[in-house]
Amino acid sequence: MNVNIFTHDLRGIWLVVPDTLLVSVAILALGIVLGMILYVLQQRNNFIIRSICRLYVSYFRGVPLLIHLLIFYYGLPVVLQVISTAFNLHINYEHLNPIYAVLLSYTMYSSSFISEIIRGSFMSVGQDQIEAATALGYSRAQAFWKIKLPQSLNESVPKFLNYYVLLIRQLSLAFMVSFVDIFAKAKLESAINYRYIESFCAAAVVYWILCVVLTFIFKKYENYLRRYEKVVVV
């Protein structure tokens, strides 16, 4: 264990942290949008739409993320080639940045989990709340925006933040498609001088600090969100 190499690796890895965090934010945001769409479609009474949604969720939850990533990595250029030739778009599909495959596969994978979070958080607001709102003369839109949404957000935002911390860790798989995040950077650093222990320990330290700090902040925020909830004394 060489301390100099360790600190050098640590500095190198620290440089990719903002990118990792940013890409994770993008995936989370896109995943929430897609998860919301999925949730709305699942609430429809149309049998075909519902079965398609169920198949989608089952597929994305049933197959490892790594396989999704590789399929999108190899599949995206093929799809773009077809689109490009069909519409004469001149897309440069041969030298595609791997980040598109990462974004697309992670977003679709996350959306299947996020739609469940959204469903659960909406269900956590009891029907009696809506009845009370109706009795007070709220319109349906008002009942949704003023009663249902704020309460379900209190429920879902902590879960989204938890998912964000998970995403940072899951992004480590993206080294397979040569996307550089914390883990991939550690791998690159170790490839220069074959000092595996130092660079992997440095990556572990970075992950540890990130997760502990983020979890601490998110926990504080969750307590802040739940400040109006009744404290049950047992």
Partner: protein
């Protein structure tokens, strides 16, 4: 190259995957019980030491832990004169995953264990149960149904995360897919990975069915809601 040949090759990797899942699940579960026992014991230092272990393991992606164990551990031990080069890859893989799941599962089991109401324990003692009887007859049967759904999710997680093993050269299901692609230049990686994905999908569905069944079976241990108040 045919789709049947592809599936035949992929299926030869399934026993390795299943064997790996079973061993690391059983050992990881055993470790997590020990960790939970340490966490709920009255020793403050044990609680804190295990807390550091859990925090570290849960903060770090499994792939990094695999690399730490596979590349880091032998290099570290070599400095102390211990040579690990003769040990097979599979041992490192199982070791890394057991450490990982020991922490993860204990965070599932501990809340479930603590969810059993204190009054239950008091009642058991009042009825003259020994400590061992109290645990095996009262506390653990009530812990199982609470912990099962999350434990089932973790099994599925393990199935999915076992697909990472091919990165260090284990020839499991994913490793067979990788091998097939490098042997058959004409093959489409999309199709091969998709077929491997289908097998993983099938495994996931079967396992979640089994977990559902176990949940229904263990539900009878559960106290009717509202009784404990």
């Amino acid at each position: 190259m045919s789709i049947v040949g592809l599936f035949e090759q992929l299926l030869t990797g399934v026993p390795t995957t299943l064997f790996f899942i079973l061993t690391s699940w059983v050992l990881g579960f055993a470790l997590s019980i020990l960790v939970t026992a340490g966490r709920v014991s009255h020793h403050k230092w044990l609680y804190n030491v295990l807390g550091v272990y859990i925090s570290f393991t849960r903060s770090i992606p499994i792939i990094l832990q695999l690399f730490l164990v596979y590349y880091g551990l032998p290099a570290l031990l070599l400095e102390f004169g211990i040579d690990l080069s003769a040990i097979g890859k599979m041992y490192f893989c199982v070791g890394a995953y057991v450490i990982y799941y020991g922490a993860y599962l204990s965070e599932v089991i501990r809340p479930a264990y603590l969810s059993v109401n204190e009054t239950q324990r008091e009642a058991a003692i009042a009825l003259g149960y020994t400590k061992w009887q109290m645990q095996t007859k009262i506390v653990i049967p009530q812990t199982i149904p609470v912990a099962l759904p999350a434990l089932g999710n973790e099994v599925i997680n393990l199935v999915h995360q076992s697909s990472l093993l091919f990165v260090i050269g284990v020839v499991d299901l994913m490793g067979q897919a990788d091998e097939y692609i490098s042997e058959n230049y004409a093959s489409s990686p999309i199709l091969v990975y998709f077929c491997a994905g289908l097998i993983y999908w099938l495994l996931t569905i079967i396992i979640s069915r089994i977990v559902k069944l176990a949940e229904r079976k263990s539900g009878k241990f559960l106290y009717a809601k509202g009784d404990s108040q």
